[in-house]
Amino acid sequence: MLATYGERQPQEVPETVDSLELAWLIHQIEQRYGKTFDADDDVLARMTTVTGVTEVLAELGYGAGAAA
């Protein structure tokens, strides 16, 4: 999903996630799953790496591998 921002290949996505990418990712999650991504600031604060994003999404019951 992150790769769709800036027309990148999945392997070109760095491990860290900046705030623009996070906004992009949340939008993609909301569109894919058709519901509002409701997470508080503490959860969002963990979503600064691809690993962190993957963990959060797994905890919230989203599909595996969504972040890449």
């Binding site: 800036g6 996070l22 906004a23 939008h27």
Partner: protein, 468 residues
């Protein structure tokens, strides 16, 4: 005892006359909730009492290191209303970078965050601020009301000063540009108010023209569109190219009859993103060319001259050896003189470009130095490279920008990469840091020994070195 400074040429009453005047019950800001002018005037007066109580005087100097917040707005206006010079330090700078800036600019006071609520994706924060007296600080030694830092702490002339008259002149330019929102309308601003576009084009222009400035609760597509939908007045979105991409990706946006247009500063978005946005929202998508030194310079607010822009009223622009120069009476740079950036009444923008002799339209074709734009924030790659190359254990470094900032480094011990990254984290703000790291045995050089920054050469060299 704080020494009295020189007189600031523009009477501090400009804040009341140009920014705060207007009907008491007119809502001028919407952050968490609506703020009317009477409330804003009271909040600014309260902050002014705190700052003057701490010793700030006309001609004094104060640095603000605050995120977008009600505290940022009230402290800035209170400093100006006192007649003091305000230095803006991006809240994302590291402690190391803030200390460097404070050493260089020597403000008498620092207003920074004591505690704040709000985290990732917040368009603004709720801040409790702390005022620190800096005993070695100096009063303002220039007539400027505003000092902003351009990226790049390595070279000279990177502190940019603007007088109150400069700011008022920019507000006047905005009033004269066709397509800029008028009194009674709304701006939903996605551009950070601590930088020139969001500061002057959003906050100060809104206050001056009676345009309500609205910040979304969060920087998500849903929250941005909700902020537009929240009021019936004609509404313009103000942001950077990323926001166009984000909003263009909304598959089925709600009908927003009040949304009349979107204006962005910075580089142009790709044509297909532009077309997708216009198709989806059916509104004008405008572009502005501006710089911290001058504010808005040229615009194409209806998207009819894309990719060219029309000089804003009062701006004289010429092309000199392929570089855009702009007439500017005085150098905006504080401190050292750098004729490569300003000379003989002309600002040298370092932007490559051309001016059409017949139409006067300006084409901007990218930077002639190492500055890049990361989500609308300017980053000087040479600053990052210089800092990285100076770290212990680093024997060579090249920092380039492709789809993100990338670093090619030579290390004394390749296993030291984590430590080097950690040290850079202490010295350089997150948005400036490399997102991809490549440890190499050697960096390619030209025949004359200069480091090569061509990314295809760097990538090829890296692959050859990793080949067994």
């Amino acid at each position: 005892m704080v020494p009295a400074g020189i007189n600031i040429p523009t009477d501090p009453e400009w804040v009341d006359e140009v920014l705060l005047a207007g009907p008491a019950d007119q809502v001028c800001l919407v952050l968490d909730g609506p703020v009317d002018r009477a409330t804003l005037r009271r909040l600014v007066a309260e902050r002014q009492a705190v700052l003057t109580g701490a010793g700030l005087r006309a001609g004094g100097s104060v640095a603000l290191c605050l995120p977008p917040s009600p505290a940022f707005i009230t402290n800035l206006l209170a400093a100006w209303r006192t007649g003091a010079r305000a230095v803006l330090l991006d809240h994302r700078l590291t402690a190391f970078e803030v200390d460097q800036a404070l050493d260089r600019l020597a403000p008498q006071f620092l207003v920074s965050v004591a505690s704040s609520s709000g985290g990732a994706l917040r368009a603004f924060q709720d801040v409790r601020e702390a005022v620190t007296v800096r005993p070695d600080g100096q009063p303002s030694d220039t007539p400027h009301a505003l000092i902003q830092l351009s990226s790049g702490s390595t070279g000279p002339s990177k502190s940019i000063g603007r007088t109150a008259s400069d700011l008022i002149a920019e507000l006047d330019r905005y009033l004269k540009i066709d397509g800029v929102p008028r009194g009674g309308e709304r701006i939903v601003s996605l551009a950070s108010m601590v930088h020139v576009l969001g500061l002057v084009g959003g906050l100060l222009y809104g206050l001056h023209a009676g345009v309500q400035l609205v910040l979304p609760e969060r920087m998500t597509a849903e929250a941005i569109l909700a902020a537009v939908a929240a009021g019936p007045e004609p509404t313009t979105l103000l942001g950077v190219p990323f926001h166009i991409e984000l909003l263009a990706a909304v598959a089925d946006p709600p009908r927003l009859p009040q949304l009349t247009g979107m204006t962005t500063g910075g580089e142009l978005v790709r044509a297909q993103v532009h077309d997708a946005f216009v198709d989806r929202y059916g509104i004008r998508l405008g572009n502005m060319y501006g710089m911290t030194e001058l504010g808005v310079i040229a615009t194409d607010l209806f998207g009819v001259n894309r990719p060219a822009v029309t000089p804003a009223p009062g701006m004289t622009i010429r092309e000199q050896d392929g570089e855009i120069h702009i007439a500017m009476e005085n150098s905006p740079y504080v401190g050292l003189v750098d004729p490569a950036r300003w000379s003989d009444g002309w600002l040298h923008t370092k932007d490559a470009g051309s001016v059409d002799a017949t139409t006067g339209l300006v084409r901007v074709k990218g930077r002639r130095d190492s500055q890049v734009s990361i989500g609308g924030l300017k980053v000087d790659l040479s600053e990052v490279e210089h800092t990285l190359a100076g770290l212990p254990g680093v024997t060579g470094a090249v920092v380039v920008f492709g789809k993100a900032i990338e670093a090619y480094v030579m290390l004394e011990e390749p296993a030291d990469l984590d430590r080097v990254q950690g040290q850079l984290t202490e010295r350089v703000a997150a948005y400036k840091r490399p997102r991809a790291w490549h440890v190499v045995d050697r960096l390619p050089r030209t025949a004359t020994g200069k480091l090569v920054r061509d990314q295809s050469v760097l990538a090829t060299e890296r692959k050859e070195q990793t080949r067994p």
